[in-house]
């Protein structure tokens, strides 16, 4: 994971900042965005190996960001974060091409595991 570039997208700034710090301590190069528009600007300016994307955000939703990523054929793996009791959005996101989804609150080791899986899957394509 040390060579990987990760983008975290979530409108809860304190959540995404703390998570970014924790990934940084583990040697993972991490950027953050707190809304869909900011995320898309970053995605278009640099290539991320993994994008961790909250589904429900004000303005452009996570699923809409995912749709635009896929439309532009950007090869980054997308892992969705869903906080709802149901997993409908997560399943919908995978149908749209997300690698996987995780429920909030996260387990950081589980997140890192998923990120590694997604990178390995891309390399084997």
């Amino acid at each position: 994971m040390n060579d990987a570039k990760v983008l975290l997208v979530d409108d809860e700034e304190e959540f995404v900042s703390a998570l970014a710090e924790r990934l940084d301590i583990r040697g993972i190069d991490t950027r953050v965005a707190t809304d869909g528009e900011q995320a898309l600007e970053l995605i278009e300016s640099q290539l991320f190996d993994v994008i961790v994307l909250d589904v429900i955000m004000p303005g452009i939703s996570g699923l809409e960001v995912l749709q635009r990523i896929k439309a532009k054929k950007i090869p980054s793996a997308v892992i969705l974060l869903t906080g709802h009791g149901s997993t409908r959005e997560g399943v919908e996101g995978m149908r749209m091409g997300a690698f996987d989804y995780l429920m909030k609150p996260l387990d950081i080791d589980e997140l890192i595991g998923k990120m590694k899986e997604s990178i390995a899957a891309r390399k084997s394509e």
Binding site: E12, E14, F15, A18, I25, G85, P105, L106, I108
Partner: protein
Amino acid sequence: MSDIEGKDIEFFGKITASMTHEFKNVLAIIKESSGLMEDITKIAPLSESQHQEKFDNALKTIKNQLNRGMELSTVFNRFAHAPDRSTAEINLKDLAEQVVTLSRRFARLKHLTLKVAPEGEHDGNLHIKGNPVWLQMAVFTGIECCLNILPPESGIILASQSRQGRKCIRIDCTGNAKDKDQLSASLESEQSWKDLNGIMSVLGGHIEWLENASGFELIFE
């Protein structure tokens, strides 16, 4: 009038679902922040070991309460989404677990234990179709009937069962529970028992006493 029938429940569900989502976000922030504190002290332990131990214990308490909060939040969020649909297919064991978690505090206040039977005591993967709010209300009212009459240190155990092709939730009273004659007499004099019969009737089901009368079954189909 029919256009706004059920709107009160829909409103209640919308607001509670939204609020539980907010609570989950709060817990997620606390989890990451306390995780960051843990990460930092692993890199740079506190200078005095007595403080390190207290710090570690405080972090452990935060983690334990976080796990508790997360479980409650998940269950409550699921409860809040119950009014989303008037009919849904529901796993009976999940239904029992959901309502037991929601009701545990009521049991604790009466010094009663309330739990779902272990995995092996449930009959397969049973599903029923019904109104999610009313189904949860039925199971809760069944539990409430027992809570109202059992002495302290008694227990209530729920299990999903199949009986001659009928799907049900079995509610067993254990421990210091009253003897079987007292149990049925006490329950049948309770208002909550009458309410339970009414709710089961609306759901198209009924109640049957267990053969040894240590409890009863909510028969749904």
